[in-house]
């Protein structure tokens, strides 16, 4: 079994000789032409099952669109959001999708700077996920306002109302953070694609497919791969990676300040920024594996997305799971240690519900936050524990089940934060209950449809792996191998 040999080879300290290839990643020993052909074969005419999958995602998207149409027609009152719970499913979805969007830039920028060799095969897909997830996330604050057609009011521009946006508001910081993150992610993604689009253009020319050549030629921006282009490109790419790295950590910090800057119990805490960032990386990496493990099986990419790659991402998932678990515990401790009755009350309410009605027999009324809390703890803290074992990490199916649970858990974590505090603020007279309406559920399902539709279309229209970088990582063709450099 090749995977065992891979593991044994990679166990302990690995010295990577670029003229030998990485022992855990078989793709680093393949030739340029083979990589080229195998990657381009992924873009061949899809099988019927692809269209079925796409149809499923499109149906979810249509459901979301219909729900949105109903909400716009009737008004925001058709959702379950009402006083005192002003933030419900939409803001939960916003925070969740922004989190999913963190893995791509983490993998493409942070692991580029740290020279992690396992990132090469997965970064393009992860980056595409970032772009699509941030696009999905960006919709929600606009839908949440109830009148999305007035969204441009968020942008500071001279206007006849003689007003400016309030730059001291975390919500305006969020507009800047999310739009910057989306813009930089799209540019980074497009930058990485340019040499690969030139490959597609030349391949279309080589095979005499004039239509494809006409489509890819303008997209490739006259890329020829000359040393002059490469020197600018590589330095530009490095700069992108360097500036995207602080951006990864800043975006979710700023999203967390939407909550932490308020004086709501359970939100007003300094732990929020690192807590949100760790959670974002945790959920983002889980989504990457949720999508890539099936993709690896469908396209037969075992040489590229090797078990070593899955193991490396799994280790990051364990690491961030511990941070997230610690943050949960820390929140409870600070809730208790602050001495504030309101903080104590909210941290009692989250797991157990109303204090007066709770009994050991469990005959109290269950609210949505309690379901969210226990799912969150199970999926994010307990479910990833088996990943500590090498045998589990080396089993893609087991990893997939765990990361799928983490996705569920992270959605409920976002709800646990967004939904519970507003239901149980300071004054018992203003406590309330929140259950989503069918429209909110429909739009949430639609958001998953939107994300997966875009990703499915991407996987067949653009190279899901960075062909150029795979070539860069592999052994170069040498006539006299002993020559080295």
């Amino acid at each position: 079994m090749g995977t065992t040999a891979e593991y044994n080879a990679t166990a302990g300290r690995v010295i990577i000789d670029e003229h030998q290839g990485h022992p855990g990643i078989k793709a680093t020993t393949l030739g340029y032409a083979q990589i080229n052909d195998e990657m381009l074969a992924m873009l061949d005419k899809p099988r019927p099952s692809y269209y079925l999958l796409l149809l499923g995602f499109l149906m979810a998207l249509v459901l979301g669109a219909l729900s949105l149409a109903i909400q716009i027609d009737v008004g925001i009152g058709y959702s379950g959001i009402s006083h005192p719970i002003a933030w419900g499913f939409y803001i939960t979805n916003f925070v969740f999708w922004i989190g999913i969007g963190h893995a791509g830039t983490l993998i493409s920028a942070v692991f580029y700077l740290t020279r992690a060799p396992w990132r090469t095969a997965i970064y393009r897909s992860a980056e595409a996920m970032t772009v699509f997830a941030v696009m999905t996330a960006g919709l929600f604050p606009l839908l949440h306002t109830g009148r999305p057609w007035l969204a441009y009011w968020l942008i500071p521009y001279p206007n006849e109302r003689m007003l400016w946006v309030n730059f001291k508001s975390p919500l305006v910081w969020d507009v800047f953070a999310v739009t910057t993150y989306m813009s930089v992610s799209i540019m980074f993604f497009m930058l990485g694609l340019i040499p690969d689009l030139a490959i597609l253009r030349d391949e279309a020319v080589r095979k005499g497919n004039k239509l494809k050549a006409m489509i890819y030629a303008p997209l490739a921006l006259a890329w020829r791969g000359t040393n002059h282009q490469w020197v600018h490109y590589m330095r530009g790419y490095l700069i992108f990676a360097a500036i995207a790295t602080p951006l990864v950590f800043s975006v979710h910090s700023i999203v967390s300040w939407d909550f932490a800057m308020s004086s709501v119990p359970g939100w007003h805490t300094t732990i929020f920024a690192p807590y949100f960032v760790a959670g974002a990386i945790f959920s983002g990496l889980s989504m990457v594996l949720t999508v890539l493990i099936p993709m690896r099986a469908v396209f037969g990419l075992q040489d590229y997305i090797t078990n070593h790659v899955i193991q490396s991402v799994s280790k990051m998932i364990i690491f961030t799971s511990i941070i997230v678990g610690y943050a949960y515990a820390s929140e409870f401790f600070i809730g208790y240690y602050s001495g504030s009755p309101f903080e104590r009350a909210i941290f009692y309410y989250r797991p157990f519900g109303e204090m007066e009605s709770w009994t050991l027999l469990g005959d109290n009324k269950i609210n949505f936050p309690q379901i969210a809390f226990w799912l969150m703890v199970f999926c994010n803290v307990i479910a990833p524990i088996p990943l500590w074992r090498w045998k589990i990490r080396n089993n893609p199916l087991a990893v997939w089940i765990i990361v799928a649970l983490v996705n569920v858990g992270m959605w409920f974590e976002r709800f646990n934060i967004v939904g519970s505090s507003l239901q149980h603020e300071y004054d018992p007279a203003s406590w309330g209950e929140y259950w989503p309406t069918i429209v909110e559920v429909g739009i949430t399902v639609g958001s998953f449809g939107f994300f997966f539709t875009l990703f499915t279309l991407f996987a067949k229209s653009l190279p899901p792996m960075a062909i150029m970088e795979l070539k860069e990582a592999t052994i170069p063709p040498m006539k006299n191998a002993a020559k080295g450099h």
């Binding site: 540019m187 930058l191 500036i243 995207a244 150029m468 063709p477």
Partner: protein, 173 residues
């Protein structure tokens, strides 16, 4: 741009390509090299060429930072929102806008800089149309393009053949 006089060759191996580059440079000519992916061996052989991209990024990043602080400062002064005696010009919240616009400006102008430099370089270091149309440079072949006077062509042709070029093409315009 279509006017080109010189030699261009196709190589299968990286070491043959770097040998050719070094020997061409010894003749006092800087070749243009076409590769399917960046290789540091090529950079070393070419004498580690540099780029002004970091300066473009720095300059526009600084501009973004300046705008990021001054836009909120100006708008806060233009429409004053007094809250509990807190400062109207507050540096900590404006730092977030300053940070974001620094990143945004750096990114946009790095990308624009790359595009503009690529256009400028295509005029400064032209490559023959036949080399542009050769479809395997993006796939698995290396190219070395030497622009020279007609009387030097044979000399460079000999260097390329000696180093094992798959094909050598002479262009005279």
């Amino acid at each position: 741009m279509s006017k080109f006089t010189g030699v261009w060759a196709i190589f299968e191996y990286l070491d043959e390509t770097t040998d050719t580059i070094e020997q061409v440079r010894e003749q006092g000519v800087q070749p243009t090299v076409i590769t399917p992916c960046p290789r540091h061996e090529i950079d070393h052989a070419l004498g580690n060429p540099s780029t002004i991209i970091p300066w473009i990024a720095l300059a526009f990043g600084a501009l973004g930072c300046l705008i990021g602080y001054s836009l909120p400062a100006w708008t806060a002064s233009d429409w004053v929102l007094p809250v509990s005696g807190k400062p109207i010009l507050a540096i900590p919240p404006f730092t977030i806008i300053g940070f974001e616009l620094t990143i945004l400006f750096t990114a946009i102008h790095t990308l624009l800089g790359l595009a503009i430099l690529a256009i400028i370089d295509s005029f400064r270091f032209p490559i023959p149309n036949a080399a542009k149309k050769y479809p395997r440079f993006q796939r698995d072949r290396f190219g070395v393009v030497v622009r020279c006077e007609t009387d030097k062509i044979e000399e460079f042709e000999a260097i390329m053949k000696k180093n094992g070029a798959e094909e050598v093409h002479v262009e005279k315009d």
